[in-house]
Symmetry: C2
Subunit: 408 residues, 2 copies
């Protein structure tokens, strides 16, 4: 955005709103900050910060606490604190094994949370939408806070513009207008955004998890399938229409096994939950409990379990090697299944990664398990839902009453 400081009459409103946005974003992402911190973080003058923080306080979004004395000389600087109940979002998550909902407050504080494990293959769209609506109504009644946005993370390929799930191979969904259906049944007058679960996961780990402060990140998260999300140059890799990051469908073994997507030898056919379970001698649909059994067997030295883990570790390394060459992340975060098995597959993974990745990008990258666990997509969905507020807080001034009504 261009800002013409020589023509204040026309442009000062734009400048003011952009600066309010920068302050709100700083407080949301980093938590309470002193006015001095805000001066340092934004490059604005002390008087500009005082005035802008005053506006946010009048609108009810922040409180200013008594001055805190820092270790440095000079006047103490009041602490500006985001008020978590002043603006909240509803986050929803649809994975293969569970659905979940939460209410998250400004500043990233989770106020309410519920997760419901579900038997697989029972993710009928009507049931999921109805159950999420019930969960949401229940959480909103408990929280009683104004909702400024709704974020939904789903294990599928999502068109960002309208929340169409064009394909959820492991949910059995094709062309499900999830955004429109949820919007109708929730009845919340606030923006709703739907995203892929791994895209939400990487955003969460980037903002509030293992990847804070890292600008090039790859998030790999396995359940039945393998999802991926990436941050490149500090920004989410969404690709055209928001479809990006489907790393589970990299062809790593083109004459290999059939994939749920219709192709053969996709990466997820070599590193997904089913192949781990089958190679360990269990039913490929034994699910999370089956994975627990494989890890217990491996702990006991069971050869077949160890071989199954070595197979998955080797193919993880092959696929990650290719992705390191293309995307050169500094950090690879393993979530879901791959976070759980990481201690068991680390050596096989690293050995193969060393063979596949070019030396220069290989030297820069670390592989770590996710820190946010199963909730990463839910946390990321909440972050996405906050975007409209953070992009232009002034647009929400004076609307808190209306938001309460809308959410009542």
């Amino acid at each position: 955005m261009l800002v013409d400081g020589s023509d204040i009459g026309q442009r000062s409103e734009t400048v003011r709103r952009a600066n309010l946005s920068a302050i709100a974003r700083g407080l949301h992402e980093r938590g309470p900050l002193s006015r001095s911190d805000l001066v340092a973080a934004t490059g604005l003058t002390r008087s500009a910060i005082r005035s802008l923080v005053g506006e946010l306080a009048s609108a009810g979004f922040v409180t200013e606490e008594g001055a805190v004395r820092l270790g440095t000389p000079g006047r103490p600087s009041p602490l500006v604190r985001p008020d978590p109940v002043s603006a909240t979002v509803l986050a929803l998550e649809i994975l293969v094994d569970s659905i979940a909902a939460s209410i998250v407050g400004f500043g990233g504080v989770q106020l309410e949370h519920v997760r419901q494990d579900r038997p697989r293959l029972q993710l009928n769209v009507d049931d999921v939408v109805a159950d999420l609506a019930t969960m949401a109504a229940d959480l909103r009644a408990r929280a009683g806070t104004p909702i400024v946005g709704v974020g939904v993370a789903v294990a599928g390929v999502v068109r960002r513009s309208d929340g169409l799930v064009s394909m959820g191979p492991n949910l059995g969904w094709v062309d499900v207008p999830l955004g429109a259906r949820l919007d109708r049944v929730l009845g919340i007058r606030a923006p709703l955004v739907v995203t892929n679960d791994a895209d939400a996961g990487v955003l969460a780990e980037h903002r509030r998890g293992a990847a804070e402060g890292t600008d090039d990140v790859l998030f790999v998260s396995g359940e039945v399938g393998v999802g991926g999300g990436a941050i490149v140059g500090g920004r989410p890799l969404t690709g055209a229409a928001g479809y990006g990051g489907e790393i589970g469908h990299l062809p790593v073994n083109p004459d290999g096994a059939a994939c749920r997507c219709g192709a053969t030898g996709c990466w997820e056919t070599e590193v997904g939950e089913g192949v781990l379970l089958a190679r360990a001698g269990l039913a490929p649909d034994a699910g999370s409990a089956g994975v627990d059994a494989v890890l217990r067997a491996a702990d006991a030295g069971d050869e077949q379990a160890l071989a199954a883990l070595a197979h998955v570790g080797r193919w993880l390394g092959i696929g990650l090697g290719g992705l390191v060459n293309v995307l050169t992340p500094r950090l690879i975060i393993l979530g879901g299944l791959h976070g759980r098995i990481h201690p068991y597959v680390r050596d096989a993974l690293q050995a193969e990664l060393g063979r596949r990745a070019l030396p220069a990008p290989r030297a820069l990258v670390s592989v770590v398990p996710a820190t946010l666990g199963d909730d990463a997509p839910l946390v990321g969905a909440a972050e996405l839902a906050f975007e409209p507020l953070l992009a232009d807080p002034a647009a929400w001034f004076g609307r808190r009453g209306a938001m309460h009504l809308a959410s009542a």
Copy 2:
């Protein structure tokens, strides 16, 4: 960047320089524009545009021509034209088969150009550096223009910060400090930047070629190896340290042929020049003339040549399918070898791409040959070299004399 319009004393200089940058960038990328076009493109007021264009004109970077009357009512608007000799860059290119140099003027006009084909395996670093220095001196003497930047595109993995070529598998280079060596021998007092040839190629196609106006682009360019560059969300995908985009080293056939990088079954072992030539019954190092022979044989209906092209086409489709799933470009541009063979491999490529790419991203992407031909990396190197000028034209005001001296 935050701009505080409420505190003009401190910030107006920042605002002015940012606005000069926006105007210079618009003129460089889009060519001559009327003042009205600039108002529309930047959102600045007419008076601000007049004043800023006046500054650029005083500094010698633009000329204003007689007012042009547009098809619309109102006063005619003077045409602002970038002066190509006011600021020029030196662009250099090092590929496996050739080296090239050019002088490009502000606005993207190529003023001088020379390409030298070289026998392969004779890319001794010392010789290349010395020959490029000679070519550069010759072009600069002919052009006689001030040089504001130097851009170098090289077929290798490049660390952007200092131009170290960590690996150029097909040049036989390892850890060559190309940036430092060229900087020393060229003796030009202007910023020098080194980049991978395909990263430069995609930038060129994005600014001045097939991908103008497209924000998600993948560029694939084969010579002996296969390079790649991508634009994601309108920005170059550089990855950590600038190493990104080495798509030739995606593992597509992990138990396949040995690759020059040390791994096996990298994509370039299935779609590079060598495999095409060998499968067509020629020596794998028969080079560009060999490729011509294969295409002539295919035109004559030769079975072996057609089978070789079908093989490369199929594997192109496999790798592109995976890359479509990960990056979801709207446009895939085939350069170098793959641009040349595109008419012969289109059907096999599309058939396999249809099987490998998920339907939603598949529906959005087109595959086209490059429009800039062999010069794409050179054009992209020039664009990169213009960055310092475009980012802050005011820093160059009054320095044209000095630039002339530096380039003398």
